[in-house]
């Protein structure tokens, strides 16, 4: 008699937003493994139409409470490129610092609060408060530093206020920057402990060849603007984002999917590390070596390692930027802005991967049409492809229902999906 087993996860926990996993296995063989987005669609692209350029990025940042700085910066960049505004060097430097703060706080949040419980066999981080207070305090210190970096530079961690069209509205005082610098230096010890923790746990050994898409850097590890590249050898101009993403709808799902050279691709920390490994800070590459993370890595669970590597890079690079600002912080922080009828594209690397905003303006500086392509939207197609492969291997190895459910959930979590963003 044939034996059919199913795993049904409704509203997967420890991810942002609502997504379901459905798995069916018959006689040790994969029948079906699906990732479905059931989150409420939000229609931001329609809501952005009519917004004045001074409001567009404020509204766009509300797409996400975790990566609101990325959404704000993508909107600002789209607007500035539409109007032909050159952002002054001081503003560009401060925006990068705010970006590092966001990446740090988001990666630490994911690694310790969302992913670590799986690696330690726990339902959440809450029991760790008693059993591993050292780890929880370490995470809170690092998360707090990321938040402080955002607060100091952008005026707030969630929904920035100082990042505005043309540049920044506020330049932090030298004393504030020096305080940040000492915090950043102290964080290197914490990150070393974090790396020791991650090296001590076992990441599931699953590999599937994937096309990795990110911004391509020239001199710096890329976070804001530049060429669009893939590990399959595609390289396009930022303005060609539509040809890089090729969004399409799937039945019964509120998130779109994307494709490039294959039927899916992935974005995010592992894509960036794979595509720009040589541009990482040497300290970050040293941490990568501890996990034997080198390009091109096709193990989705190694995204956890990539997050830690990027956290180290962000802290080291933030020290450099703070020093630059302390040595040479004078000059205009915002350029004058003249609206014109034009379309602009802004691509930034959000914590979860490459994010695009395209804004078309009329001559009064009002949005005529908006398009946003979200990292999680791009990753959903790759999760669709990873899941059946993972389940097929687990089923063949005789994994029980519990293990199937755990590893499928962990696989989705490894992408750190932000589902509300995906259905913006």
């Amino acid at each position: 008699m044939s034996e059919r087993r199913t795993v049904d996860v409704r509203h997967l926990a420890r991810v942002e937003g609502h997504g379901d996993i459905s798995v069916a296995v018959r006689d040790g063989r994969l029948e079906e493994a699906r990732w479905q987005i059931v989150e409420t669609p939000r229609f931001f692209e329609a809501m952005l139409a009519g917004a004045h350029y001074s409001t567009a990025a404020i509204l766009a940042s509300r797409i996400c409470g975790i990566c609101s700085i990325s959404h704000c910066l993508a909107g600002l960049r789209a607007t500035e490129r539409a109007f032909g505004v050159a952002v002054p060097a001081v503003a560009d430097r401060l925006r990068r610092l705010a970006k590092h703060g966001e990446t740090l706080q988001s990666h630490v949040l994911h690694l310790f609060f969302l992913a670590a419980p799986d690696l330690l066999g726990l339902p959440s981080v809450i029991p760790l408060v008693d059993s591993r207070p050292d780890l929880v305090h370490l995470a809170l210190r690092l998360k707090g530093l990321g938040n402080r970096l955002c607060d100091t530079i952008a005026g707030r961690t969630t929904h920035p206020v100082s990042l505005q069209v043309g540049g920044v509205a506020k330049v932090p005082a030298a004393a504030e920057l020096r305080r940040l610098r000492s915090g950043l230096e102290a964080a290197l010890g914490d990150l070393d402990e974090a790396a020791a923790f991650l090296a001590s746990v076992e990441l599931p050994d699953f590999e599937r060849e994937t096309e990795w898409v990110s911004l391509g850097g020239e001199d710096d590890y890329p976070f804001i603007g530049g060429r669009l590249v893939s590990s399959d050898g595609v390289s396009r101009d930022e303005d060609d984002y539509l040809a890089m993403t090729n969004e399409f709808l799937v039945e019964g799902d509120t998130s779109k999917r994307t494709r490039l050279s294959r039927d899916a691709f992935a974005v995010g920390p592992l894509a960036r590390v794979n595509n720009s490994f040589e541009l990482l800070h040497p300290e970050a590459r040293r941490v990568a070596a501890r996990f034997r993370l080198e390009p091109v890595c096709h193990r989705p669970f190694m995204a956890h390692g990539a997050r830690l590597v990027e956290a180290v890079h962000c802290v080291c690079d933030a020290v450099r930027l703070v020093d630059e600002q302390l040595a040479d912080g004078a000059g205009e922080a915002a350029a004058p802005v003249e609206p014109r009828a034009a379309r602009g594209i802004g691509a930034v690397e959000a914590p979860r991967g490459i994010l695009y905003h395209a804004l078309e303006y009329d001559r009064d500086g009002r949005v005529v049409a908006a398009d946003c392509v979200i990292p999680t939207t791009q990753n959903n197609g790759n999760i669709d492809r990873d899941l059946p492969e993972l389940v097929a291997r687990l089923a063949a190895a005789g994994a029980d229902d519990r293990r199937l459910e755990l590893l499928c959930s962990m696989l989705v979590r490894a992408y750190d999906p932000c589902i509300s963003c995906a259905v913006h």
């Binding site: 509203h11 926990a13 420890r14 991810v15 942002e16 059931v38 409420t40 669609p41 939000r42 229609f43 692209e45 329609a46 809501m47 139409a49 004045h52 409001t55 404020i58 509204l59 509300r62 409470g65 609060f113 969302l114 419980p117 339902p123 959440s124 981080v125 809450i126 952008a154 005026g155 707030r156 969630t158 929904h159 920035p160 206020v161 100082s162 505005q164 920044v168 509205a169 506020k170 709808l249 509120t254």
Partner: protein, 209 residues
């Protein structure tokens, strides 16, 4: 204090709650059903954030028209959606904490009051007082439009301090004088339409602007 159900943080679930904090607005039937279930299991239901309290920025969708919004995003294959509603439009709410984002300090203070069963009173003063408190020079005096004079204070005014006027995310202060705001704005060159548009972004001034 025990965290019973917090899907974003924990795989544990439960529905017997002393306090339920609910964020987000409502625009699908499954959300209505979940909300009714949460209300039935909770002693105190708190709407958390401007979306939960007023519909928030999501309310802009209602003005777009649902069919149009659907066509813009999903083309010829529309997804189920309803007009955006706040939590209190769907179930009775015991307390509302507005803000986009909410103030962490305020949420912590309110949860402490609820746990110890001490009545909580929101500040009745406007955001202007927060600016005075932290010595932020008036944005209106610097030629920027700001809704601080009519918006509920208690947020510590991070927006004016960061060089951005107040956008009214917390909704109206007690006795908000909108006529005076329009007059002050007009004397600085801002039209009534500009003020009304800004008052409309977060939804807290619906019916007043």
């Amino acid at each position: 204090m025990e965290i019973v159900d917090f899907r974003q943080l924990s795989s544990n679930t439960g529905d017997d709650l002393d306090i339920a904090l609910v964020d987000g607005s409502v625009s699908r039937q499954d959300e209505v059903e979940r909300l009714v279930r949460i209300r039935a299991g909770a002693r105190i239901l708190v709407a958390l954030g401007s979306c939960a309290c007023f519909g928030g920025v999501n309310r802009l969708k209602n003005a777009c028209g649902l069919e149009h919004a659907n066509r813009v995003v999903y083309g010829e294959r529309p997804r189920d959606t309803m007009a955006v509603r706040s939590i209190r439009d769907v179930v009775p709410v015991d307390l509302e904490i507005p803000g986009c984002p909410v103030s962490k300090d305020e949420v912590e203070r309110i949860v402490q009051h609820l746990v110890f069963d001490v009545p909580y009173s929101f500040p009745v003063y406007p955001v202007c007082l927060d600016c005075r408190q932290r010595l932020t020079a008036c944005l209106m005096d610097r030629g920027r439009l700001c809704l601080g004079s009519v918006t509920r204070g208690g947020c510590d005014a991070p927006c004016p301090a960061g060089g951005l006027g107040c956008w009214g995310c917390r909704g109206p202060a007690a006795d908000a004088n909108l006529e005076q705001l329009v007059a002050d704005a007009s004397s600085r060159g801002f039209s009534g339409a500009e003020v009304a548009e800004r008052l409309g972004l977060f939804g807290g001034f619906e019916g007043l602007r």
